[in-house]
Symmetry: C2
Subunit: 353 residues, 2 copies
């Protein structure tokens, strides 16, 4: 599935993220070097130039000037109306014009999402795009979606999320036959709320390996590869997981450093803790793709390290190379019984390709 980076161009919002532009630029340089990609680094050119110039991969980076950056407290609708000189807008525009295949940003999630919707639109047949996130599990990784693009979803939206997550797991995570579960509150078919009960019936008819309801407690066991839910639920599930993991870490650290033997034990356990951290570190999995838009947009955590940025760029590359949007469009067309590729205007998922 995974292609080489040659010929793939990724636009990176250099000004988005807690440690932007430094971390983002470093991540972009790493990606350019290791993956052989061309990167369009979008932001305040004067600030970016020095950091890039000295680097051996500088020849794979092109700077694209954007005079402003979106602040974390700006509303997405304001960004669309008034911040067209911002780095996220300009970076997304490069996908629209075909100069880049994908955009990656660790800035304001709402602004990234709104800009992608507005500039790129949705894929033919997709009613609601979804943010997918990759969770580490006891057996590998699972895709959870939607984690916040939509609230108050309808049953058919959940079916679309399932189809999109299924394609993503196949084409980007390399899982030939992903098991798709519906996040609910009991394993029996009849359990759930109005939304999930209706979605359950529809999912049973979809051409995917639907394994039924998955409870919250099964999310991390790895028994499902794609877990589908409304964006409100998914966002709560994701954030509560982040919060709990952090709380556990804090309490454990506090208890450990209380005694001399604890501190000594900790030194001995450092390699184990490091391996553990690597296993559960979101940075390993890169960013969260916005599925269902007519283009490729990868959203990163605001606190992304250079490695996380690099991995998100790699995800963007795999998304492009795996032709994810083409497959999403086909699968949705097949499910909803519209012939694939029959769009009268000949719209294609990667403008300019």
């Amino acid at each position: 599935v995974r292609g080489r980076g040659d010929g793939v161009t990724i636009a990176v919002d250099a000004m988005g993220g807690d440690d932007a532009p430094a971390s983002v630029v470093e991540g972009a340089l790493l990606a350019a070097q290791d993956e052989g990609l061309t990167i369009l680094l979008v932001g305040d050119e004067a600030r970016l130039r020095d950091q890039v110039a000295a680097h051996p991969a500088a020849n794979r980076i092109r700077l694209v000037h954007a005079p402003t950056a979106v602040a974390m407290d700006e509303s997405p609708s304001l960004v669309i109306r008034r911040r067209r000189d911002s780095s996220i807008w300009r970076a997304t525009e490069l996908v629209k014009t075909g100069e880049a295949h994908a955009v990656v940003s660790a800035g304001h999630t709402g602004a990234s999402m709104a800009t992608a919707f507005f500039l790129l639109g949705t894929l033919e047949g997709v009613e609601r795009p979804a943010i997918a996130t990759i969770l580490p599990t006891l057996k590998g990784a699972a895709v959870l979606l939607d984690v916040g693009a939509n609230v108050d979803s309808k049953p058919q939206h959940l079916v679309q999320f399932a189809l999109m997550g299924h394609v993503y797991a196949q084409r980007v995570l390399g899982n030939a036959s992903p098991r798709v579960g519906l996040l609910s509150i009991g394993e029996e078919d009849s359990k759930g709320n109005e939304l999930t009960k209706e979605a359950f019936k529809l999912l049973k008819q979809a051409q995917i390996n639907f394994i039924g309801n998955v409870e919250g407690r099964d999310v991390y066991t790895g028994d499902a590869d794609v877990i589908v839910c409304d964006g409100f639920i998914g966002n709560v599930a994701l954030k509560i997981s982040e919060g709990l993991a952090e709380a556990i870490q804090q309490v454990l650290r506090r208890e450990i450093t209380q005694s001399f033997f604890g501190r000594l034990g900790f030194v001995l356990l450092k390699p184990a803790f490091r391996r553990f951290k690597r296993r559960v570190d979101y940075a390993e999995y890169g960013g969260a793709p916005l599925l269902g838009i007519n283009g490729v947009s990868i959203i990163c955590h605001g606190r992304s390290s250079p490695k996380a940025i690099k991995n998100a760029i790699r995800v963007a590359r795999d998304f492009v190379a795996g032709d994810v949007n083409h497959h999403i469009r086909d699968d949705i067309a097949r499910h909803f019984e519209r012939p694939a590729g029959a769009a009268p205007d000949g719209r294609r998922e990667f403008p300019g390709r």
Copy 2:
């Protein structure tokens, strides 16, 4: 707030739970001994007699025979129609007849709930009872409700959950002025889904310390004392937390035992791990109360240890001693502007008291 156990009688479903009756009986004996309570132990008398007889607290235990027990795969509606000889039914009946002040069960949650609804009914003014759970946080403990009694709640139900959780935090957890938050997907007032946005407006008018929206990531920080949500969301949040905590433990153990130094470090860290475990152990917090019913019903985890049973019995005692139901009824009456205590039939929350 906390009263002594004297004069309080708790009915315990001896046959409910993974290790029932052994664990349950042991927990009941511990509670009888340490808290000075009278326990009605409900179940297969012949099986219970021996374990109780030899114990120093045996004189505080009375056996009540119930020939059958509800299995985990029976539907709650079947239990109500056909299992009136079961331990959970008989134990709940003791509350209805006034022979016990409260019922505690680690059996089938749905059966406990259905039996309590059916036999005891709801408190005056309460539209939907809720299951509240106590979560450990970085600063102490928080009440999360509803975690599964209802799905598809309406905004006014969330307000009732808030009022009930508020009373519970005050009267049982001893928190004079609990901060009440609404579980949502952004801290701004305007964030959320249809349900939470409407509930937000109503909660602002309630006579509680409403601190606004609380994100999933804030649940474990301890910045809110009561967190309100629909039962579907709450159940997913609770189960995903349990699943993640377990997964973290498993991965950490696997990494630690991989090397000699890891195993040595682990030995040194044992006291720290033990303290950690105690801090986050659900058993410390006892069971989950079913709030809003006309009686007291505490639901325990199926895997409850004797200590967890004992603590759940203590929670039941505090619930009774704190006169929680009286306060819930008053607060709900005040909020919905019905004069408190004006029930024409003079119904009271503890039948037979």
